[in-house]
């Protein structure tokens, strides 16, 4: 019996069943595997962990029955059929709900509707009892019997706060609960022979096992009062069954959403007749429309007892015999055989991180050391997507993926990035990987660095594009005709220039431990990658490049970069260049060229020229672009005077006299131009008679 796999997804498993499962599996295998599991833990790199704040509940015993509801992720501890109390605890809601109910017999199944509005309790095979938890509504229990004659209720699932589905051995019945009227209204029902069923609350899909062998699965989808039948499909059994008895167990099937798509996961055990090297998990993609297709095969390369979880879009397969787990990422490259993709596990098998059970109660003696938790225990029950329950110890955990240890397990940086970019909490880890690959002792080669940058920017560009097309739709007012339009979500995988600058590049350049050649090559590689994805490079990156080049006196290199417009034109960059003129004179020319190309910086050009006393050049420039009628005469005369060149002053003065004549018919300056000082100076140097005479017609 020890070869039986533990149930991967035993929906609303009552405590009795859980205890039964534990008994069935026996403890021998677990103890054997213990040593090996420790070995795995010591080798480091435990990338799976139980959550730090588990839900603790009173463990199952003859007077206390424990139930788990996958939809609300709540544990129910029912003492003496509810008469001495029911305690409901959830992973998300930290405040337990406690109440009492009349003991009307053994509870088979107990669940709250969504939002804890209505409690449903199944005590018999024929009916389900209801109790309102809505304030100011009738508090008396009411009951619904299943409609189908002679049918036995296998269980029920809430699909919303007031909608419930009964699954019987002869079909399903979809009801609306009317709490005020304390009654139920049948919305729809469907006759079908059911061996067992499974519910995925995330996608509101119920899967029914039908036919004698049980391997034809019929999914139903529920949404706001409607029930739709999806196309049924057949699970390929590993070997032709010898007899016509149920051959597909619900323990080998799980449903989970991976990368936004619903999959049915089938744990296909190793069979001696087939040539497979071990068990495998077969993924069937279950689309909302269209038929279900076998799409992925996950190779486990081992045999024995397995359990499945789905965490952060990774399929986690626990192996009880070795007390280790492996993970698969279906987005990563696999071997495509024309219809399905075959995947090997991404990371080497590792045990779940050792876990210490905190000694119960804050009032307990503090000197008592925490007890190490027995991992992969045979009393563990696993629920989708990420729940692990230890019925014997009274704990419920969610399983978590730790990304830091992964960094040292996936040595191929390209593959590591592919993996990390798909994870939820990846940003800081990715940034630290980037920092790491730029510094000793684990400095990566430029081609590796380039690969990583390209992968990051690919993701970054995807987001920018989505954001851009969203903005465009909103701006053109098309959003009203498309209510489904949503602002693109910025995931942690979007690592933008500012992230890279703040956490990686600026730190790296400041450390100055790498040879400057490498530093510059890295910066250029990042800019190359941004350009390759047509992402506009931010000014601060250019500034960083310039700063680094200037620090190492690599002005000629800088000059060449500017010459080929690798550092794109902008006013701030032009100003930065101007500031470099004293240490690198050609920066002046580079800056002026840039301002000219910008074509919006004519004022700046005039200022630069005037500051260098190139008054004539400034005047010629402004005249060339046709702006000489609106410039301030005073500004130019000031500059001409500062140049201490009398002929220059004369020329400029004359120019403005002529302008005055042309614009106002009189060469003299108006008081508003504030040029009195210059007129006086002109008279002083060249004499009163040198002033231009008004032309009379």
């Amino acid at each position: 019996t020890g070869r039986d796999p533990p149930g991967p997804a035993e929906d609303e498993a009552p405590a009795a069943a859980a205890a039964g499962a534990a008994g069935r599996e026996g403890g021998g295998g677990g103890e054997e595997g213990e040593g090996r599991a420790r070995g795995g833990a010591e080798a480091g790199g435990c990338y799976l962990a139980l959550c730090a704040r588990p839900v603790h509940f009173e463990k199952a015993n003859p007077v206390n029955c424990v139930f788990f509801d996958e939809a609300n992720k709540q544990v129910f501890a029912v003492r003496s059929g509810g008469a001495t109390g029911v305690v409901v605890k959830g992973l998300e809601d930290r405040n337990p709900i406690s109440f009492r109910m009349e003991d009307k017999g053994e509870v088979k199944c107990i669940k709250f509707s969504l939002g804890n509005k209505i409690l449903a309790v199944q005590r018999t095979l024929k009916s389900v009892d209801f109790l309102n938890f809505i304030p100011d509504s009738p508090q008396l229990e009411y009951t619904q019997e299943c409609k189908t004659k002679n049918a036995n209720i296998l269980g029920f699932c809430w699909t919303s706060s007031t909608e419930i589905v009964f699954i019987t051995d002869q079909g399903i019945e979809f009801y609306q609960v009317l709490p005020e009227k304390r009654s139920l209204k049948l919305l729809k029902n469907q006759s079908i022979n059911v061996n067992w069923y499974m519910y995925c609350p995330e996608s509101s899909v119920i899967l029914l096992s039908t036919t004698v062998l049980g391997n034809v699965l019929q999914p139903f989808y529920f949404k706001s009062g409607t029930m739709s039948k999806l196309s049924k499909f057949e699970i390929e059994l590993p070997a032709a069954p010898k007899s016509s008895k149920l051959s597909l167990s619900e323990r080998d099937i799980a449903m989970a959403t991976i990368y936004g798509q619903l999959y049915v996961l089938y744990l296909r055990h190793h069979s001696r007749t087939s040539n497979s090297t071990g068990a495998e998990v077969v993924l069937y993609h279950l689309p909302r429309e269209g038929s279900c297709k076998k799409t992925h095969i996950l190779k486990l390369n081992r045999t024995g007892k397995f359990a499945l979880n789905v965490v952060d879009n990774l399929v986690v397969v626990h192996h009880q015999d070795t007390e280790t787990s492996v993970v698969f990422d279906i987005k990563l490259k696999g071997e495509f055989d024309g219809s399905t993709t075959i995947h090997q596990f991404v990371l080497p098998p590792r045990s779940i991180q050792p876990y210490q059970i905190p000694v119960a109660g804050p009032a307990s003696v503090t000197s008592q050391a925490p007890v190490p938790c027995k991992l992969y225990s045979s009393s563990w029950i696993v629920f989708q997507p990420d729940i692990i329950i230890s019925a014997s110890e009274g704990y419920l955990w969610s399983l978590q993926v730790k990304l830091e240890p992964v960094v040292n397990l996936l040595l191929d940086k390209g593959k590591l990035m592919d993996f990390l970019l798909q994870r939820k909490e990846c940003k800081m880890v990715i940034l630290s990987v980037c920092s790491q690959m730029l510094s000793e002792p684990e400095r990566g080669s430029l081609s590796v660095i380039a690969t990583v940058f390209d992968k990051l920017n690919h993701e970054y560009k995807k987001y920018l594009e989505a954001e851009q097309s969203y903005t465009m739709v909103v701006e053109t007012g098309l959003s009203r005709s498309n209510p489904l339009l949503k602002r693109p979500v910025r995931t942690q995988a979007v690592i933008d220039q500012s992230d890279m600058y703040t956490h990686v590049l600026s730190v790296f350049t400041e450390k100055k431990e790498a040879p400057h050649k490498f530093t510059i090559a890295v910066l250029m590689e990042y800019i190359r990658s941004l350009n390759q994805f047509q992402i506009a490079v931010q000014h601060y990156l250019y500034e960083l490049v310039i700063k680094t080049l200037v620090q190492h006196n690599l002005f000629y290199m800088l000059h060449q970069f500017l010459q080929y417009h690798v550092l794109s034109d902008s006013k701030p960059l032009a100003c930065l260049l101007l500031s470099l003129e004293s240490i690198y004179p050609p920066a002046h020319q580079l800056s002026l060229d840039m301002l000219k190309r910008l074509s919006t910086a004519n004022d700046e050009i005039v200022e630069v020229l005037l500051s260098k006393h190139q008054v004539l050049a400034a005047l010629r420039f402004i005249r060339g672009i046709g702006g000489h009628d609106s410039i301030s005469a005073r500004k130019f005369l000031d500059a001409a005077k500062q140049a201490e060149d009398e002929m220059l002053f004369y020329t400029i003065f004359r120019f403005f006299e002529q302008r005055n004549q042309r614009l106002r018919g009189n060469p003299s300056f108006t008081p508003g131009e504030h040029c009195e000082e210059h007129v006086t100076f002109f008279k002083q140097v060249f004499g009163e008679q040198a002033l231009m005479k008004p032309t009379t017609f």
Binding site: I527, Q560, P586, I605, G624
Partner: protein
């Protein structure tokens, strides 16, 4: 505005300027009377009698010394005589280089007898002074400084090196075709879009990383520079060497086609078209010699001695990694070939594609309407539509030498003042020459239109600036 008129040549025969002598001396080496010969480090032609050598050196010394009394920091640079012109250059303290060029001669026939008329004012000081300076730069590139040679092996070593280098180099001077471009000694840059440029950057950085003895890399395409890891001054002279000497020498066998002996010698090299222009000819021959020319860079600063590796892809980009003082081995060459060869072939096709796109957009395929020379002192960028492709022997101007001389004259004018200037010259037979100087840039345009006036010429040049130099701050 200046008016210049050049008369058309009649039945006379013109004899081009030629190199009369070229010598290098150091007055400190033979300060005592009777020991003057010791001062002379190199003398061309060597056949000249000893006393004449001493006399000529002494004369130069005297002139320099004499002019120093008037201008202590800027002694004479050239001496004009009826028959020749002498150029002086002191590249390192107390080391003087002197080049004596015979003025061009017009041979006339009078009463059936040839009469020689020396053209005293034909040669441009700036052009030949620059040629002399380049002689030194080129020597220094391949031999290091004079002083370093003295330190390494005394006067004997220096003399040997000078003899070895200049003996061959002086034959390649071609004084008759020197012009404004020799003054600039500029670099022609290959126009390229940002992305392709960044790809090249990335390629170079990765190559330098994987071949860690490669210290600097320059990247050229079509004889034009795209990237230089070397400093500007070193690149300037290396560029000159590559484009006027090394590349042209390797051009002829390539033009001979695929069946040429060089290709036949390189079997098993089908996956890419790379080969070494310096170093081993055949990588598959274990006996092949891996000798690369040494070059000296940053001589003012770190004084680096490097090996010059020139690697070329058939599609014509050149990559020139310069390596550190460790001599490259055959194994290294094979590694370089295997890393660089295939990538370079891919890059070359990228560049070529980009180049053709640019050409189509700008419509530059047509013969340029204007004949112009552009030079930017800041990055040494040079562009000429006047000169035809450089050949191993000479770079030829496609306009009359008299026009080239006007360009040279304008340039001399420009170099006298700092301010921006513009000079328009009406030359012979409907030619106009315009020179513009804006900040550190110079532009020379030659126009040939009948019956145009000054204003129209000015308009034409404005048009040229608007189309060719739109990207830069170039005052109209």
């Amino acid at each position: 505005l200046r008016m210049a008129a050049a008369g058309a040549a009649g039945q006379e025969k013109q004899l081009a300027p030629t190199l009369l002598s070229f010598f290098i001396y150091n007055p400190k080496l033979g300060p005592k009377e009777g020991e003057e010969e010791k001062k002379i480090l190199f003398y061309h032609p060597n056949e000249v009698e000893k006393n004449e050598k001493i006399r000529n050196v002494g004369l130069c010394e005297a002139i320099v010394q004499f002019t120093r009394t008037f201008s202590p920091t800027k002694p004479a640079k050239s001496l004009h005589t009826q028959k020749n012109r002498q150029f002086f250059h002191e590249p390192e303290e107390n080391f003087w280089m002197v080049m004596v060029v015979r003025n061009p001669i017009i041979e006339k026939h009078k009463d059936g007898k040839p009469v020689y008329e020396y053209q005293e004012e034909e040669l441009l000081d700036k052009v030949y002074s620059s040629v002399l300076q380049q002689c030194y730069s080129m020597y220094k590139l391949f031999n290091g400084t004079f002083l370093r040679a003295m330190e390494d092996g005394g006067v004997k070593m220096l003399k040997e090196r000078l003899e070895k280098f200049f003996h061959r180099y002086l034959q390649t001077l071609h004084l008759q075709s020197c012009d404004l471009l020799d003054v600039f000694c500029g670099i022609s840059f290959f126009p390229l879009d940002k992305m392709t440029y960044l790809k090249i950057q990335s390629f170079i950085n990765r190559m330098e990383e994987s071949l860690n003895i490669v210290k600097y890399t320059a990247f050229l395409y079509n004889d034009q520079l795209i990237w230089s890891g070397l400093e500007q001054d070193d690149m300037r002279i290396l560029y000159k060497y590559l484009t006027t000497s090394l590349f042209p020498r390797h051009m002829e066998p390539e033009l001979a086609g695929r069946d040429s002996p060089i290709r036949a010698e390189m079997p098993g090299n089908l996956q890419h078209y790379g080969r070494f222009l310096t170093g081993p000819l055949n990588l598959n021959d274990p006996e092949t010699k891996c000798r690369f020319p040494k070059i000296f860079v940053n001589t003012d600063d770190t004084y680096e001695e490097l090996h010059l590796i020139v690697y070329k892809s058939l599609t014509s980009p050149f990559s020139l990694p310069d390596t550190a003082s460790i001599p490259p081995t055959l194994e290294f060459c094979r590694k370089l070939d295997s890393i660089v060869g295939p990538q370079l072939t891919v890059l070359a096709s990228d560049i070529c594609e980009q180049y053709n796109i640019n050409k189509r957009i700008s419509g530059a395929e047509k013969e340029p309407q204007f004949k112009f020379i552009y030079f930017n002192h800041m990055n040494l960028a040079e562009k000429s539509t006047i000169h035809m492709r450089k050949t191993p022997s000479v770079s030829l101007a496609s306009v009359h030498p008299d026009l080239m001389k006007i360009l040279g004259d304008i340039n001399s004018d420009f170099s006298r003042v700092d301010e921006d200037e513009e000079i328009i010259v009406k030359a012979m037979s409907d030619y106009w020459v315009v020179g513009k100087k804006s900040d550190q840039r110079e532009l020379y345009v030659i126009l040939n239109q009948k019956n145009v006036n000054l204003i129209e010429v000015n308009e034409e040049v404005k048009k040229l600036c608007a189309t060719q130099f739109n990207n830069i701050f170039f005052l109209d």
